[in-house]
């Protein structure tokens, strides 16, 4: 089980800021997105604008295989606007 963190628009669409999710230990980033959208279908509208941060490293939604450990943080990162 990993910790999924939601920020900005993704937190509004999901209706929460964090939760625990059970996912396969090895999974592509796109498959991980699809698992999350199953739980929060409203997130589908932002699919083309988000990336992940897995263990605080940015990961695009795609074929990259993630190896996840229990307790790993996965964050949904909408387009940033700091500064």
């Amino acid at each position: 089980a990993v910790s999924v963190l939601y920020f900005a628009r993704s937190a509004e669409l999901a209706g929460l800021r964090c939760e625990t999710l059970s996912v396969p230990r090895e999974i592509t980033s796109l498959q991980l997105w699809e698992e999350i959208v199953k739980v929060h279908p409203r997130l589908a509208v932002i699919r083309d604008q988000v990336i992940f941060a897995v263990r605080q490293e940015y990961v695009l939604l795609g074929d990259q295989v993630l190896v996840l450990q229990p307790g790993d943080e996965v964050a949904i990162i909408p387009p940033i606007s700091g500064g």
Binding site: I51, A75, P78
Partner: protein, 155 residues
């Protein structure tokens, strides 16, 4: 002041209280430096003709601090004479004209600190997980920095 107290330092803070230019400048002042350069990002009252009431910021705080540390490390590689770097970013509500970010860099001569400050703010906008919401009279909008490579280009 002892020599050991003047080792190069990075001062990174995310906070909800009002930012202080005096405080941030004083963090980077150094007897070996002749220059302190500053950038202050302040809240504008308008965006494309719409009146902005205030801004609200949120952050993935632990990762934001890590990303800002990476920026500081990059600055020191590119401008080795840079002494101290301070980056303070405000979170939560930021009223119009107040500062949302202050960046200060000290160096012996002015060229390096001026260039380093520019690099810091430009890279912060491209890589640090902080989000800004513009609050208008009737609605709000999550902003997207043009530096952010995963934002859709403006339609």
């Amino acid at each position: 002041m002892e020599e050991s107290e003047d080792v190069p330092k990075d001062f990174i803070k995310l906070k909800s209280e009002k930012l202080s230019v005096d405080e941030v400048s004083e963090l980077v002042v150094s007897p070996s430096c002749g220059a302190v350069s500053l950038f202050i990002g302040t809240t504008r009252n308008n965006f494309k003709g719409r009146k902005v009431i205030h801004l609200e910021y949120e952050a993935y705080s632990s990762m934001a601090e890590t990303e800002i540390k990476k920026i500081c490390r990059d600055v020191r590689q590119k401008w080795p004479s840079v002494k101290h770097i301070a980056v303070h970013h405000r979170l939560g509500v930021v009223p119009i004209t107040e500062a949302s970010v202050i960046i200060a860099v000290s160096s012996p001569h002015r060229v390096e600190s001026l260039e380093a400050v520019t690099y810091c703010i430009n890279t912060l906008k491209a890589s640090v997980p902080i989000w800004k919401k513009e609050i208008y009279e009737d609605e709000y909008s999550w902003k997207e920095n043009k530096e952010c490579f995963w934002a859709n280009s403006e339609k």
